[in-house]
Symmetry: C2
Subunit: 141 residues, 2 copies
């Protein structure tokens, strides 16, 4: 099956499939006599798996690990569980961070007169020489 067919079935753009091959996320498929890539059912399964994993927010390296586990019948579910738990925490941290930002933004929006005047609490706040808040907990990226 050609790449466009694989793209249709997997839900990934052909470009992305080639990209995944270029970074060794998937193994290069067989080539037809004319040089075209030929995909098998197994390949499609991997691509679908990757699409789903990406939708769940896993990055490429995490997908690499997941895919290894997926393909490995000797896996222990605990390993998978660990990976996904880590991801969950990661997402939680991200949400907390965004929620903080959200609250700050809401305060700004509430404080601004929202009229034709030049006076603006938002500008004042952003211009105020706020301390360079050293983040209070470990610096995770």
């Amino acid at each position: 099956m050609n790449i466009s067919e694989a793209a249709k079935l997997s839900g990934l753009p052909a470009k992305t499939i080639r990209y995944y091959e270029s970074i060794d996320l998937i193994s290069p498929p067989r080539r037809a006599a004319n040089g075209y890539r030929c995909y098998e059912a197994d390949d499609i399964a991997s691509l679908c798996f990757l699409r789903q994993a990406r939708q769940f927010g896993f990055n490429i390296d995490q997908c690499r690990l997941l895919l290894d586990l997926y393909k490995n019948p000797q896996r222990r579910s605990a390993e998978v569980h660990q990976l996904v738990s880590d991801k969950l925490e990661e997402v939680d941290a991200h949400i907390r961070e965004l929620a903080d930002t959200r609250e700050l933004l809401a305060k700004l929006v509430g404080a601004c007169a929202n009229d034709d005047d030049a006076d603006c609490a938002i500008i004042d706040r952003l211009a105020s020489p706020q301390e360079q808040s050293q983040e209070r907990e470990g610096s995770q990226q």
Copy 2:
């Protein structure tokens, strides 16, 4: 004042200050005879403003607009309000998206046996040929 001093006072890395100059976010400062950049108090104020805006999650283009408003005494606070309201919505949308992902991940974690067995609900779920969910609402980036 040299760039390292400006960096210290503004809380931005010198690299970032040069970068902001290179993308015309800030105007190039005066140069000393030896070619070193010389920053004035006004420049520092702008840099602090930018640092704060970035911390609030505004991207560079949004910072550009904010900075214009900041420097323009003829601004109307309503314009600022609009910008920040938009950003708030943007952040809200992002949070909702992440919250969805979070719930899905939590379900996965809950469903996995988390033991030495190869059988794994997470793997099964990711491998299942889930429909390629066409996003139900406008595709904003």
